[in-house]
Amino acid sequence: MILNFGPIIFGFIFGLILGSQVKNNPISGVNFTTGSYVVILIVGIIFAWLLGQFPYYNDTTLSTAFLAALIGVLLGKFLFARGSSN
């Protein structure tokens, strides 16, 4: 079994780039806490499992590109976008 690192590395980097712009905004009227993002992560794992891996990639049963992007978005949000956008 060969693990395909391409989607994992670049999905994570792409996710970091996107996640760095997701900031809590007081004007929006809703406040997403850390617990909200944990729920999004759990839903995302189920999502990735239902999507399945790309064709010819026989390493895992869940979509590594989707999961790496989700982890990247959440990590980027907590590392680079901790403040509010206003």
Partner: protein
């Protein structure tokens, strides 16, 4: 449901984040599945558009600054050109796939640098998809952000 509906506001950001991930997945699978840079970039932009529509341009939790848009747009275009020029200088034709090297004209060191790490031997195609995806998602998002800004400006 109106624009200010609490249900829309509660599901807006989670759906936008999942749309981001679906877009990234579409971009990274562009060389073996239907999709690619443009389609994936449009899906990511759809997440941004959803957020701008639901929360409004001022209240949107997903906001792109002018510098962010500028850097990503230029980076995508510049890297696409650089990858094309590498093929031109190494193999004699613009955008030659130096990662897979079907004609066996590229030195092994350069081939290893541009080889995408997966089982399909796709070469530089996934990288080009990534750069196109960056450009498209930033470009489409910028158009919608600009239109929303114009609308707000005309209402004031």
């Amino acid at each position: 449901m109106s624009q200010g509906s609490i249900i829309l506001k509660l599901i807006g950001v989670p759906i936008a984040i999942l749309l981001f991930c679906l877009g990234v997945m579409t971009i990274l699978g562009g060389h073996i599945t239907p999709g690619g840079g443009f389609q994936g970039g449009a899906m990511i932009a759809a997440g941004v558009i959803l957020s701008v529509f639901i929360y409004g341009i001022d209240g949107s939790p997903i906001k792109f600054s002018h510098l962010y848009i500028d850097i990503l747009e230029n980076f995508g275009a510049l890297m696409f050109i650089i990858f094309g020029l590498v093929g031109l200088f190494v193999a004699g034709s613009f955008l030659y796939n130096v990662g897979s090297d079907i004609s066996n004209v590229v030195p092994t060191v350069i081939r290893n640098i541009f080889h995408y790490p997966d089982v399909t031997n796709a070469g530089i195609i996934p990288y080009l998809n990534i750069f196109v995806g960056l450009k498209v998602f930033v470009g489409l998002s910028a158009i919608v952000i600009a239109f929303a800004g114009f609308k707000k400006f005309s209402e004031e």
